[in-house]
Symmetry: C2
Amino acid sequence: MEKAAGSPSVGGSYPQKNAEILSSQYGINLFLAGLLLTFAWAVHAVGISKSHLLSYLITLMLIQLLWMLWYLCRSCTQRRLIRDKDTHAGARWLKCGITLFAVITLILDSFKIGYYIDFSNCLSPTEGIFPVTHAVHTILQVYFLWCHAKDIIQSFKTLERFGVIHSVFTNLLLWTNGVLTESKHQLNEHKERLITLGFGNITIVLDDHAPQCNCTTTTLCSIFSQGIYYLYPFNIEYHILASTMLYVLWKNIGRKVEHHQQHKTPFKFHGITVGMIFGLIVLTSTIAIVVVYLIQIGRSKIKSELALTMFYLHAIFVLALMCTAGIVALFIYRLEDRSLDNSKNPARKLDAELLVGTAAGSWLLSWGSILAIICAQAHPKYTWYNLPYSVLVIIEKYIQNLFIIESIHREQEKVNDDIKTLRIVTISRGSTLSLTPSYKEIYNGRAAGEDGEVPCLFKGTICRRENGGGGAKEETSQENSLVTHLASDISFYSRSSVTNNKRRILKNIAAFLFLCNLSLWIPPAFGCRPEYDNGLEEIVFGFEPWIIVVNLAMPFSIFYRMHSAASLFEVNCKT
Amino acid sequence: MEKAAGSPSVGGSYPQKNAEILSSQYGINLFLAGLLLTFAWAVHAVGISKSHLLSYLITLMLIQLLWMLWYLCRSCTQRRLIRDKDTHAGARWLKCGITLFAVITLILDSFKIGYYIDFSNCLSPTEGIFPVTHAVHTILQVYFLWCHAKDIIQSFKTLERFGVIHSVFTNLLLWTNGVLTESKHQLNEHKERLITLGFGNITIVLDDHAPQCNCTTTTLCSIFSQGIYYLYPFNIEYHILASTMLYVLWKNIGRKVEHHQQHKTPFKFHGITVGMIFGLIVLTSTIAIVVVYLIQIGRSKIKSELALTMFYLHAIFVLALMCTAGIVALFIYRLEDRSLDNSKNPARKLDAELLVGTAAGSWLLSWGSILAIICAQAHPKYTWYNLPYSVLVIIEKYIQNLFIIESIHREQEKVNDDIKTLRIVTISRGSTLSLTPSYKEIYNGRAAGEDGEVPCLFKGTICRRENGGGGAKEETSQENSLVTHLASDISFYSRSSVTNNKRRILKNIAAFLFLCNLSLWIPPAFGCRPEYDNGLEEIVFGFEPWIIVVNLAMPFSIFYRMHSAASLFEVNCKT
């Protein structure tokens, strides 16, 4: 699985490493220019308005549209060009997830169009053109990702690199734009709460709150303007997901892939009932807590404090459970000594890096809270709950990352082929040992080979486990005795039932953690942010500095939850 | 050159991938906690003072000291444990560079100790303990890097990973601390200039300007407090260099390395006279410009504008020259179709990523300037020079990165072995063809094999160049005719003289760019920052937002110049 880069390319003489740098530098500059426009809009720079930013985004989207159309046409007419596929990239559930988010994004776009029509007197035309372009862009991009996310492009490599990296950074900029709009909205809500609670000492200016003119149809207006902010979290997830899928596509350009089959592992509800039940309890209770929190917070000082206490206690309980589950899972992994697969795999590498990278966002916030609690002069009672909460957030993500990254690196059991070989060998020997049915059972349960020993049973099959210690001896002795002694059959069966149990526990843990992460995505995404409402950090760091930290770190913290949920879903399927 | 990760490790059963994640997450948390302390100090958080931050840094340094001592002792007593070395890591010139910076850092520490003694009445003890610890830390760390930068650790892997990653992030935090102190100083100077120029509309508060008590020895005090800020740029470079070297050491833990010899390529002045002369002219003129700039700026409005105009014109000229040189070099690379080496090499990968990553810092600033010029309402004449300057900064780094990354990825000529084989073959055939002296000449000039053809001349030697096109045919025909026809000798010689010329041009370009990058490091490192003094960006983005952007992006921009100079030095040695 080496990269083709370096060797003279198929379509031209330009070395692949250079094409990679050439295109990535183009993408970075595209992104930085957009980032500065966004920044300029956020700080109300003189002479730069929202319509400048939107025009830039529209241009980028149109260029991407043109490129995608060209690519789709070319791949239709010349089907033979793209033969290689990366089986790890663009998993089906990822595509389904992105489609779901895209559908909600389309609803958001239609809301925005409606909002523009209502306020068309005082909004610039770009605010109408943007959602239309965005809707078209969304539809075509989802189609593109469904058809081509697994592609390994081998022709016109330099040109394709530019197209794909352009798409990656266009989506990242749209993500930034979404995040900023959402942050501004959250900050406005927070400021309104502060006004209600009577904090007059902070200079409160509501930012981009409402257009300067009256709405033409009053009822629809409020639905549109309120509804938009409930749909934004999905739009944000859509863009970041799209950009990661496109990034994997970019990394795959020009790669040489070994053709190895990956057997599909569909998601099954069977056998994960316990995990699902606990997970669903957490999910329901979290939704309830969020609703109560959003109703209570900012009403009065006492109600706010109660809401915060409730939120912290619930979160502490959930995080403690998650930590325990993660530790149990890691402990099970330590019991069985399966080797890890370290072959080149851009999709998996990105997954691992994103998990650690985005966790850093919430770690930053947690360290901020811990520091604030340690250094604050006055401690209202409810703020003390923040300390175990912050510590648990750090530990939970630490353990969960270890679990997920080890899980996605574990070598997948290749039971099918091994079992077939075994049976053929057994049959060719003409023996009617009772071994065969027991292996059948193992095959149905897909458990044998879990500890990599089946392929070592017969010589001639490559021994995939390089165990230097006692395991090798064990295998050799088994090899000698297995065919003659029936007793070993039973021991093997009982061993496989142990691994089966382990597997079931792991599957349940993955399912539980999946639902927990989905639950923990909801509060920050829908405006339940104790980092704002707690007040302690704002006092220690100052209002402005802390708001800047929260607004920078929060998007990554939110993305972490969605991304880890996606990874845990994959872990569940693979286990 | 695959990683050993995954297979059961030598010292324990813990999989390497997990140890990697375990330690990197520890390091990130260490860093984030320190970062927040630094941030808290920068924003004058309530209850967090500089001594808290310094105590944290002292603790980290002491832990690193203990770990380094343990490692040094262990490697002395058990020499056999560390046998593998990464020949790419810790190059000699890198070690020399870090030693130079470390020496200046030690001077800085002694200045700080002197400063503490002078103001000991009103400074906290940590401000005295810090430079002492830092000096010890610096000495031991440089010794450690001299002896062990090339190590590939294979025992106690998990423990070593923690120690090394601790060291990486300790150095990064010390870098952050240095950068922040330097930024505060620069900002204070900028504010003082604004006061002189009579800008009263900005709320000017000088930050951490001077201690609250009087100095005991007046003359020494001013030397210490002034001198410290001229030494900081070197301290900053020292820490970032140390942290990159330690990071490579961390990445190398548990790696399996093919033992291939890398012949040392010492730096030679011979043959790069033109590049050196032009480079030295740029260096001298830059130093002159910086001195004039620092004297003139902030004196009066006219003098400031003159200084800015002078700076921009000089920079535009230098950058245009650098762009041209870079384009010529890339064009030469396109002429010869040498394949790139894509083997696993953490040191090189980090180099490439750092080049692109840190260039992003200055690209951000340049895009800010471009945006400001486009959107500003009023344009004083001198601000227009900022536009070509900013555009050229972007283009120059774009081209230079392409050049450096292609250069460090080009397969190095293995002349020594090839020539030896060739001569042995020639001698064993008993022929006294005039070929031998000509090859000798090529050998002396170290030019043969540049296009990878020598190894293909005789069968039995592995043909290292997989050229699908006309090259293969050419080689085959040469192979048949070379030994019999003397004529081909001449053609081969003339060809090698062409490659010799190309090589000489490339070496000159690398030398020129090396000196130019060193020159361009000086202005921002020593306080010549037109991004502050230009004024246009501050008007468009606002004073605070723009200062934040500059203070965040500038350290990377400065590091880029030093890092690219180091890379170009390597390119010069390799070419």
